[in-house]
């Protein structure tokens, strides 16, 4: 009945949705922000710890959401680790293009490995009502990096 949904719910997504990585508070985080999707009630808090070199040393999140938003947040925490703030911003922009259109023609070589890891989430672009689930964590990341406290995917 749901076989054609395997494109959207790839095994990676189901796995990260069920067992999110870095699902914890970072008590000594340098940057945090809350993300809220008032439409569906998804809510998350993102924590970012910076290293002495100014790059992201650790990232974690907590909250509740659907499989897609949870998997997206989980994959985010994995992929931004070790990135400079600039790289993280760039990754966020690229990911949002991917989620909205399914492709990223402007994506260069620089972050291609990271984008490869996020590829399983590209299926959401065919589900307009679900794109925001995938982008919530990334909006929240931008808010955290910019020093804002709240992000909304509305």
């Amino acid at each position: 009945m749901f076989d054609d949904l395997r494109d959207l719910y790839q095994e990676v997504i189901l796995d990260h949705g069920r067992k999110p990585r870095n699902f914890r508070r970072l008590e000594d985080a340098d940057r945090t922000a809350r993300g809220d999707n008032p439409m569906c009630g998804d809510r998350l808090e993102l924590f970012v710890k910076l290293g002495p070199d100014g790059a992201i040393a650790d990232a974690a999140f907590q909250g509740r959401g659907c499989a897609i938003s949870t998997a997206s947040a989980s994959l985010l925490t994995e992929t931004v680790k070790g990135k400079t703030l600039e790289q993280a911003h760039a990754l966020s922009d690229q990911f949002r293009a991917l989620a909205m259109t399914g492709t990223c023609p402007d994506c260069g070589e620089a972050l291609s490995e990271e984008m490869e890891r996020l590829q399983p989430l590209s299926g959401v672009h065919e589900f307009p009502s679900r794109v925001k689930c995938a982008t919530l964590a990334w909006h929240t990341l931008n808010a955290a990096l910019d020093g804002a406290k709240e992000a909304s995917s509305e």
Partner: protein
């Protein structure tokens, strides 16, 4: 005369559609119902043959449109057995009807020191206007009656909150849009009146599923919305006793609601025109007329009986599904089922069901406090029935839910 659901389905053009290659199974009538051909045709005919502004022109078309508009008022009055058609005020929806009462009656008649009593299971439309009234610093208190674990109104709590005689208005849903619970309306009217309070019912859901009778019920205000009653969007009804309308200041000011106006002075039109400022929803009123005629021809008793059978069937089928948690198990309930599935988030579930051609709603259904009350802040999936819903569709939903659970396992 028994009700033939298959025949009724043929009256709704949209139901013959396929969605993603599957027959449409529309289980979101609680949010808005589909429209029968009779409603669609009546509205088209109005625009093609009898359209002009109402109450304004002394020419044939305007008179015809005015007649049609007032005939709709009469039909709605008969549908709810109102004593007088003037008790029917046309608004744009339930939300506006409740806001009208909150603004006009709440600010004009309710006194500082008095309270409004609502319940935990209100739609935001019957919560937020009262919170706004409370927060205006007029000294009006807002009390909230509890809901039991079974999803019924806690009548002891209602009694306790009425006991000091300070409640001026009870504003309660007649049927919950999440739990399906039908509240004991006659008893609530008695309790409110004994405590010296007036009572308003949010009948947005109830009026669709049961016969409501204003003269038998004896309430003070009753609201419902056209689009859930197989009618068009853009029209709603506030039923209000004339004695209340007389005492209420106007809500919106403008054309059609005055009897005389100079630059210094204004006299308001008598009810209900006093509350219908501006050009009203003319085509929508004609559509609503056709809708109440349509359901009346089927008979509200037949609609209710059909739905009772669907509710019993759904209760059995949904209870069989492992991991499914139903919100509310009220004795007296209508065809609205909100639930969660242990291993699937409501939005993931709704996406899956959509693939199977099933339209359900995921979220908190404009009842956030109620979801918090039941510990499901993340929301639920809601399946809600219309008169065209079949047992076969419920079986199909049950099958899809079982498969969805396997999908996420």
């Amino acid at each position: 005369m028994s009700f033939d659901v298959e025949r009724a389905r043929r009256d709704f053009p949209i139901l013959s559609q396929t969605v993603r290659g599957k027959p449409l199974v529309f289980l979101d009538s609680g949010a808005s119902a589909q429209k029968p051909r009779a409603v669609i045709d009546a509205m088209v005919r109005c625009m093609e043959e009898r359209y002009a502004n109402v109450h304004r022109g002394a020419y044939f078309l305007s008179e015809a449109a005015t007649e049609a508009y007032e005939a709709a008022r009469g039909a709605v009055a008969r549908f709810i057995n109102a004593a007088d058609p003037r008790e029917v005020i046309f608004t744009s929806n339930s939300t506006m009807a409740i806001n009208l009462v909150a603004h006009s009656w709440g600010r004009g008649v309710l006194k500082p020191g008095q309270a409004v009593l609502i319940s935990e299971m209100e739609h935001h439309a019957n919560l937020v206007p009262w919170q706004m009234l409370r927060d205006e610093g007029r000294g009006i208190e807002l009390r909230i009656a509890r809901v039991t674990d079974a999803g019924e109104l806690d009548m002891d709590d209602v009694a306790a909150k009425l006991a000091d005689g300070k409640v001026g208005l009870v504003a309660i849903t007649h049927m919950s849009n999440v739990l399906g619970t039908v509240t004991p309306a006659e008893r609530l009217v008695r309790m409110a009146h004994e405590a010296g309070a007036k009572i308003l019912f949010d009948g947005s859901q109830a009026a669709v599923h049961r016969r409501v009778d204003m003269q038998a019920l004896g309430a003070d205000f009753y609201v419902f919305t056209g689009h859930k009653l197989y009618g068009p969007t853009g029209i709603g009804v506030l039923w209000a006793r004339l004695e209340h309308q007389e005492r209420m200041p106007p809500f919106l000011g403008g054309g059609d609601m005055i009897s005389m106006v100079t630059l210094d002075r204004v006299e308001f039109a008598p009810p209900p025109a006093k509350f219908e400022a501006g050009t009203p929803p003319i085509v929508e009123a004609v559509g609503l007329h056709a809708a109440v005629a349509y359901v009346s021809a089927i008979g509200m008793a037949a609609v209710e009986a059909h739905e009772r059978a669907l509710v019993d069937h759904a209760m059995r089928r949904l209870s069989d599904i492992e991991g499914l948690g139903l919100l509310g198990r009220a004795q007296d309930r209508g065809g609205v089922f909100a639930f969660s599935l242990d291993n699937a988030h409501p939005h993931d579930l709704a996406t899956l069901l959509d693939r199977a051609g099933i339209a359900v709603r995921a979220g908190r259904h404009c009842a956030e406090p109620l979801h918090a009350r039941f510990g499901v802040e993340g929301g639920t999936v809601r399946a809600s029935f219309g008169l065209y819903t079949t047992e076969g569709e419920i079986d199909y939903l049950a099958e899809a839910l079982t498969k969805a659970r396997e999908f996420f396992a």
